[in-house]
Amino acid sequence: MSEATLTTKRPGLKRLGRSYPFLFSFVGAAVIFAVTLVVNSFNGAGPILTAALTFGAFTVVVGLGQMFVITTGPGNIDLSVPSTIAFAGAVAMKLMEGQDSLIFLGLAAALGVGLVIGAFNYLLIRALKIPPIIATLSSSFIIQSLAIAYGRGLMIKPPPLLAEIATGRVAGLPIVALVALALSLVMAVVLHRTVYGRSVAAIGQNIRAAGLAGVKVDRVRFATYVLSAMLAALCGTLLAGFSGGASLNMGEEYLLASIAVVVVGGSAVAGGSSNVSGIWGAALFLTLLVTMLNTFGVGAGVRQLLTGLIIIAVITLAGGRKGARH
């Protein structure tokens, strides 16, 4: 509370958490993985990890976009992620017509859809001054309607090559995980080493000061919402390839998941400070948690209860981080 929390040199666990806020999500993931293995009498470590990497990868892709949005400050959140996933996935599948030769066309169209959605979101936020949470919620409704009218929920098969990529492996590692990893590396560089990344963090701490310090506030926020929507669109395409076609509800679970990986991963909820590694830690943590609870074979009620308690336990152990105090 007092200025004392700002001192940099303090010992122990807390200091570790402060300098590496993402550490705890990895520790949590590791502990859960270990417990699962013990329950499983040390069988299937490889397959469990592979599955976690595969499903974690999709969350990472949307989580990266959500991270940039959340970093731009309190109240900034993109709730249109699920419907963007569904709509972009549908557009991609329809344009690809199941033919390998049309994969690029479909992917480009999906990304284009993401671009338009992101631009529309920011238009609402900027021109109509609608708070981002409601702006993106409203646009998610509109996109959902578009997806319904466009695809009627019909599952169109992905081109075999796309399906192969989405489900395939290289050197034992899922290709989607490698794609997500490459993307994460790029995004980490963007976040920490580019003017854009710094600008995002500056806006998140003090939008007014950012403007006065020469940050192109509008351009950066616009780019951030577009980035988030385009990553959701990419996720939608990969997911459709992975699960045999785009369905209307395939994005649903990514609303909470995309937010959860960001905040559990140690990015500041109030904006201004974030990290990419935490997203991986949190994504693995959350997918391994599902694995562990499914392995326990407990009922739905207990499963939900434990999920919640474990999330709270991890964040409590990780402890508070310095908040934005003006």
Partner: protein, 496 residues
């Protein structure tokens, strides 16, 4: 030279051997200080000398590491906010502590737990209104104004008034940590007059300021701090400006006229780089700025100077109806909490944010060059910190301000817009910054300098006086006098 203890046999508060460290930084290295009833103690020292830290200990918001603190006659082990309050100690902190979402009356209630029960609003409003009128006659603040809607100076006035109001228990010692840094001259004078009245009535005041005239004219006794220690303590009459400056550890002052003389002659190139009209301007008057020129914006606080600076900043690189700006603009904030500081970042990151594009290679920020800029900033502005990687908020107020200066000057901007930027900067640094500005102007940079201190206007080659959002006077350096500025600031029909 440690002087005699306070005149009164039983001091209100007495500290001895008080130390305080923040990690590796030793903010206070054994301070002895006592203040008795009915005196005004002036406290001066360079930025980061430890003044605010000491005051926070007195107010109970920080705990000292070693030493003893005696309040109200009895030594207190753990001194808390409540204990300080019970001892009659009130503190106007350097960084204001008002709740912007509450009204003036509501903020008063927050400070005075006694204001409660049904119909508390009326007495709370009346109370703060009365104190405001007593200290600042002629103010226009109303109890149900939201603090967020007030100007910085008005907020400062509210904060000050709130600490002089009494419910149940009277304030006995009021600490004023740089209260005048964002007040107009006339308002500051009202405050200082009130301080004298308060002291005459038996109250005590600790006054911290970098405006040495205020200290010399108001205090009974002056304590000088340097690097976390008290280095001089004498009755005010035994100090003069030069002695104070010397005691603070700065080199003796050259006459201010010299610096001004250097800029007396502006060298207008053929084309101005800024032409701006305040949106509310009537008539044909407008502001022009040429490369290498230092232009001052004067007038009472909140009369449109900041708004024009922001307008010019926004007009850079885009089109605006009101301003034509050629070249990029860097802004030095005066209200550093609201407009300047990025609280989660290190000092270094705060400095380099304005220059990142220039520090990038192939789209990536070059870490080595960034570090070089940070270190250069620390050198030139003598930012007091062990490590530029420390959080910006670990800096003292004045040092934060220096970091903001460094941010603007390190950038490649052709125009520097300064929003009363010397708030809380110590005399020594001020002088160095003036020199830097003159030097940069020499090299062709143009400065727009809004200031509430008349002396600073002497550094400008041209001064525009603002009133109610309009430029009402337009004074070349040669015609600049304090009377003219004051007259234009107040007179209703200066050019009618």
């Amino acid at each position: 030279m440690t002087a005699s203890p306070a005149r009164s046999p039983t001091p209100l508060v007495a500290l001895s051997g008080v130390t305080k460290s923040f990690g590796a930084v030793r903010a206070l290295g054994g301070v002895d200080l006592a203040i008795g009833p009915g005196e005004c103690l002036g406290l001066v020292g360079h930025n980061g000398a430890g003044k605010s830290t000491l005051m926070q200990i007195l107010a109970g918001t920080l705990h000292h590491d070693e030493g003893t603190l005696v309040a109200g006659g009895a030594p207190t082990g753990a001194f808390s906010v409540g204990a300080a309050h019970d001892a009659g100690i009130r503190c106007v902190f350097q960084e204001l502590s008002l709740c912007p979402n509450l009204s003036v009356a509501e903020n008063t209630r927050l400070r005075h737990p006694g204001l409660k029960g049904f119909g508390w609003r009326q007495p709370a409003g009346a109370l703060i209104e009365a104190t405001l009128s007593e200290i600042f006659p002629g103010h226009t603040i109303r109890p149900d104004d939201l603090v967020a809607d007030l100007e910085l100076g008005e907020r400062q006035m509210v904060e000050i008034a709130m600490n002089f109001t009494a419910t149940g228990d009277r304030p006995r010692l009021v600490i004023l940590d740089e209260p005048t840094s964002s007040l107009d001259h006339s308002v500051a004078a009202q405050l200082l007059a009130h301080v004298r009245r308060f002291v005459a009535a038996g109250g005590s005041v600790i006054l911290i300021s970098h405006i040495l005239g205020d200290i010399l004219g108001t205090s009974d006794r002056i304590v000088v701090m340097r690097d976390g220690r008290v280095v001089a303590e004498r009755p005010a009459a035994q100090f003069d400006r030069a002695a104070l400056v010397a005691a603070m550890g700065h080199v003796a002052e050259t006459a201010p006229e010299t610096a001004a003389a250097a800029v007396a002659e502006a060298r207008p190139a053929d084309r101005p780089i800024v032409e701006a009209r305040p949106p509310r301007q009537r008539g044909a008057r407008s502001l022009t700025l040429y490369p290498g020129q230092i232009v001052g914006l004067a007038g009472l606080a909140g009369h449109g100077q900041t708004a024009l600076l922001r307008l010019i900043q926004n007009a850079a690189g885009s089109t605006s109806r009101f301003a034509k700006v050629e070249g990029s603009v860097a802004f030095v904030a005066g209200d550093r909490q609201a407009d300047g500081v990025f609280p989660l970042w290190s000092i270094g990151q705060n400095v380099t944010i304005r220059s990142l594009a220039a520090l990038s290679r192939f789209g990536l920020i070059d870490g080595r060059r960034e570090r070089a800029v940070e270190e250069a900033a620390r050198e030139t502005f003598q930012i007091r910190t062990p490590d530029m990687d420390d959080n910006i908020l670990t800096l003292s107020g004045g040092n934060q301000q220096k970091a903001l200066f460094a941010r603007a000057l390190a950038s490649d901007a052709a125009i520097i817009a300064m929003d009363d930027p010397m708030r809380g900067v110590d005399v020594g640094t001020k002088r160095e910054v003036y020199a830097r500005i003159a030097e940069e102007a020499e090299k062709g940079r143009a400065f727009l300098w809004y200031t509430t201190e008349f002396d600073e206007l002497l550094n400008c080659s041209h001064v525009y006086v603002f009133r109610s959002g309009e430029i009402v006077a337009d004074l070349p350096r040669g015609e600049l006098t304090e009377e003219k500025v004051l007259q234009s600031s107040f007179e209703e029909t200066a050019d009618a």
